[in-house]
Amino acid sequence: MGNKSVRVIAGAMVVAGWAGWAGAQSASEIKIVLPEQPANLEPCGTIITNVGQILSRNVVEPLTIVDPKSGQPTPGLATEWKQTDPNTWQLKLREGVKFQDGAAFNAEAVKFSIERMTGGKLTCSNIAKFGDAKLTVTPIADLTVEIKSDKPQPILPTLLSVVMIVSPNTPADKAVNDPVGTGPFKLSSFTPQTVVLEAFDGYWGEKPAIAKASYVWRPESSIRAAMVETGEADLTPSIAIQDATNPETDFAYLNSETTAIRIDAGFAPLDDVRIRKALNLAIDWDGLAQLFGEDVQRASQMVVTGINGHDDKLAPWAFDAEKARALIAEAKAAGVPVDTEIELIGRNGIYPNGTEAMEAMMAMWQDVGLNVKLTMLDVNDWLRYLQKPFPESRGPNLLQMMHDNNKGDAAFTVPIFYTSGGSYSTFEDAGLDKEVADAMAATGEDRTAKFKAIFAKVHDDLAVDIPMFHMIGYTRVGSRLEWKPDITTNSEIPLANIALKD
């Protein structure tokens, strides 16, 4: 083969490659680039970010949808619901809905999906939101279903927002990678490189503007941002703050996550409320916020605005090093061993600048006279400290953590953090346990007021933890799309809400 032939072949390859790379998409096709490959496409795992962002409200739909502004459940595949007794709810189902495989959507299909979720025959992440509740589902009519729980479930309609309804032809005893639901898009393919969804012609609702969506994954934030910038992709969630440099395409949004430090109140000197208050007062919060970006919001509680029970009026701790020193001196005079070494346990990679934040906080606590030493752990080791049973060898410690609640109600936060039996709780207070139990059983405004009172008590009176910031996410949206992220973007990106610019 002569030199000329080699040049011709090489040139043809480059041209073919270029053409294939540059001209792959038509006007109504979009490409979304996610940070992580979805482990699988099991609809029972939509609370996992990378599964939910693909499947939730695209391929499979829930019975109810939590409104991102009010936190209240709104109609999904269920159009109405009423509580007939404390343990029973009756739901009316939407008419004219078909599954993507042609099966009928009705009360039997809802019973199948809930029993598949609760049956224990497959690993189902979403069931965690129900705790240890036992549900019994009974079809009353073709489009009416009754759900009984073994104990009162005042927020069952909110909980039902994580129940993804799947076709009755789905295997009940094993996880799937080929989900079939009622959503506006059906799964076209799932390979190690991409997931492709195509519009479902038989969808009950309005036809979406997008005809086809491809999902790819790249862990590097800068590369995902570059992909949207160069037009290789149209949208990417969760880019790092340093990559969110273009105000035209990069949107900041409150992402429902709250970062905080848990105080292990089981050990001296952390069992003294003066020390816990001093820990909160010793931090230069304005200085620390520099690490989190200008859009970040100071937190006074573990849930964000819009979650039922959040109290807008609850003020965060202010920076007052002198007051912190005075409280520590007062505790020392009362015999509290304030010189005891306190281990600050951070988690590598928990969020951008997470290690730097821990280093800064350690220095600030040392500055007011506390003996704090930082240990950074990888996620596996860190998890041992986060949830019970805690390591027996631990001593007084402070744990860096981040909590995500976008499900509309403080019930997904308060019991695990603040009750004696809560899996993350190091605090034991019978009075607080009772208040939490009362709030969990309450409904309406009474429920909201009770959760607000609990947040105020754990913040102002008990200083159980050190709420830091409500976190901000950044999403880059390409110039072809009309869409803005909101608090739900961490768990879903409904394609039907995306419009195409002309």
């Binding site: 025959k121 497959l122 690993t123 705790g131 490189q193 790249r218 570059a226 997904f412």
Partner: protein
């Protein structure tokens, strides 16, 4: 020759079984995967159900004997993460790495031999100095840095190449260049060093005295005699590429086995970790056998 291959295969099987045993116990030392596979707020009951479903509630020695029993029937287990056969997941990812490694290693070796030989032919010349500088830079610059800068320059700045992914000829360019730089840099140094020694040998002087052409002396005689150490180093580098083109695969979204292995370790996906180790161990065994056989081809004094 066949007897030699048989003996090597026998020893390799023992090594692979030892390796898999070690990996089995080491992975399980990392703890319970339910903490990663179930939401943090899962109940104890849900965790126990997860352990039961995946056989993780059994004592570790029972799990090990079950694993060995399954291996005999070529059952390599299920991926916890992907709900499918672990060996299928590993074998699906392997060709992507193999293709990338093969192209990068071939290009790196050929280029390094040419550049190293030419540099050795005129030690101290401008070409030699430039080749030395480029090869040292290639061998020592972190590949993630080259990858990110390459993306910024060629994809974002100039718009000539895609940032990442697969599918077209253009998608191959940056991963291959990044992957080949380190082996290229190291091999240039090795070729140059061995060639300078070879060119000083008496048989080369004899060839000169006989009036043989310089090009034939360099590429026909000196190079052939310098290739054995080059092949040894190239073999090591090739097995390294098969085992872990992790950074390149991660940055460029290349669906290979290196990234799969790291992800599986982080995710405690035990069966996939074991399967990726098995597949790469067999591949490394084959590469080593091939290198040994190549020795015999290049040096007639070597017989198996």
């Amino acid at each position: 020759m066949l007897g030699y291959i048989g003996r090597r295969a026998y020893h390799s099987v023992i090594s692979v079984i030892g390796l898999l045993t070690l990996v089995f116990f080491l992975t399980r030392l990392t703890g319970d995967p339910s903490a990663l596979y179930l939401p943090l707020d899962s109940s104890l009951e849900a965790r126990q159900a997860f352990a039961r479903l995946n056989g993780l509630d059994q004592p570790i020695y029972v799990q090990f004997f079950q694993y060995l029993h399954n291996l005999l029937s070529l059952d390599f287990g299920q991926s916890l993460r992907q709900n499918r056969s672990a060996i299928e997941v590993a074998l699906e990812a392997f060709p992507a790495t193999l293709k990338l490694a093969l192209v990068a290693m071939t290009l790196a070796t050929v280029l390094a031999i040419v550049v190293g030989a030419l540099a050795a032919a005129r030690p101290g010349s401008l070409f030699d100095r430039v080749a030395g500088l480029v090869s040292l830079a290639g061998a020592s610059t972190p590949d993630f840095w080259i990858a990110i800068v390459g993306i910024l320059v060629f994809a974002v700045g100039l718009g000539m190449l895609p940032t990442s992914g697969t599918g077209t000829a253009l998608h191959w360019i940056m991963p291959i260049v990044v992957l080949m730089l380190r082996p290229f840099g190291l091999l240039v140094q090795v070729v140059r060093g061995t060639m300078i020694s070879a060119l000083a040998s008496p048989f080369i002087k004899t060839a000169h005295a006989k009036g043989m052409k310089r090009r034939k002396i360099i590429f026909g005689h000196a190079l052939r005699n310098s290739l054995l150490p080059v092949i040894t180093v190239a073999g090591d580098l090739a097995t390294g590429l098969i085992n872990g083109a992790v950074v390149v695969e991660t940055i460029f979204g290349w669906p290979g086995i290196g990234k799969l292995m790291i992800d599986s370790i982080v995710q405690r996906d035990f069966a996939v970790v074991q399967s990726t180790i098995l597949v790469t161990a067999i591949a490394i065994f084959i590469v080593n056998i091939a290198i040994d056989l190549l020795y015999a081809v290049l040096d007639p004094r070597i017989r198996y």
